[in-house]
Amino acid sequence: MAPIAVGDALPDGTLAWFDENDQLQQGSVHSLAAGKKVILFGVPGAFTPTCSMKHVPGFIESAEELKSKGVDEILLISVNDPFVMKAWAKTYSDNKHVKFLADGSASYTRALGLELDLSEKGLGIRSRRFALLVDNLVVKVANIEEGGAFTISGAEEILKAL
């Protein structure tokens, strides 16, 4: 599958998370994003740096500003199970808006064409680092990194596009 690009329709898929009542939920991406302006950003792995120390905090800190510019949801996905995503989300105590979603089997990451083989690093198939701005299921901005770098996939780039 070719990587997702500007103008593409956002594919549907199932992601998992723990809700505010600590119940395990599974939902379709379309149900989370239809009719809305959403940011979908992805990281190679929970509990690994760059993800933990730069990429994710950038979106947490800019969340209010992004919302004031019309973004309805900020969704973070990673190829991890929902238990790990929940534990990782808890380490960001000041997070109010970013939703941590689990793509445990990497099936949604593959649907986006953004899978990355990090077996050598002990991670297996994961996601490339990326950020998408999606308006009513159509991709408006697609910032996809090569490897694990962190250059264009941050919150600032999305803010510039809004």
Binding site: V84, G104, G122, L123, G124
Partner: protein, 199 residues
């Protein structure tokens, strides 16, 4: 999948009292008392729990099984997943809290392994304040557990391919005691207190 159900049905005949006093042997599995864990899983390595920076510094090195088991007395336990309920609340604490007793019985290392990457294992081990007592290893692609036929499909629980909940006492690579829960949500035979009595 059928073999997993068969195993579960078979193991249902044992009472937990029996499990507590005798090592369970599973005649149809590759692993049982007397098996050599190193030759049961040749070419398999585990990854010591680490931070990403430690990973880079060590060039993402892996630990071959012989380095872990050869010439040593090891208590090892495996569980379905880091950061999940029974694993966090009961399984790991039962080993962490008894570490002195294990040491006084001459155990060289107590090891926890799960099908998670070593970075998640590291984060979890630190959260449970168990890194001093227990060595945590990641079996990130499940190859260790598959080789030992202790793998389990937990896709229904959104965990994917993971492992059973189990414990073993291994001396110089030979399995002396092997305990496997009937279902991974149970915590009857694989805890620290049980195996302490079996060593």
């Amino acid at each position: 999948m059928a073999s997993v159900l068969l195993r579960a049905k078979r193991a249902g005949g044992f009472s937990s009292a029996m499990a507590a006093t005798a090592a369970i042997s599973r005649a149809f599995a590759s692993l049982s008392v007397g098996s050599d864990i190193i030759s049961a899983a040749p070419n398999v390595a585990l990854q010591k729990a680490r931070t990403w920076d430690e990973g880079i510094a060590s060039k993402f090195s892996t630990t071959p099984l012989k380095d872990i088991f050869q010439g040593k007395k090891v208590v090892i336990f495996g569980l379905p997943g880091a950061y999940t309920g029974v694993c966090s609340a009961q399984h790991v604490p039962s080993y962490r809290n008894n570490i002195e007793k294990f040491k006084s019985k001459g155990i060289d290392s107590v090891i926890c392994v799960a099908v998670n990457d070593p970075y998640v294992m590291n984060g979890w081990a630190e959260k449970l304040q168990a890194k001093e007592a227990i060595e945590f290893y990641g079996d990130f692609d499940g190859s260790f557990h598959k080789s030992l036929e202790l793998d389990l499909d937990l896709s229904a629980g959104l965990l994917g391919h993971r492992s059973q909940r189990w414990s073993a006492y291994v001396v110089d690579g030979k399995i002396k005691v092997l305990n496997v829960e009937k279902v991974p949500s149970e915590f009857k035979v694989s805890g620290g207190e049980v195996i302490l009595d079996q060593i």
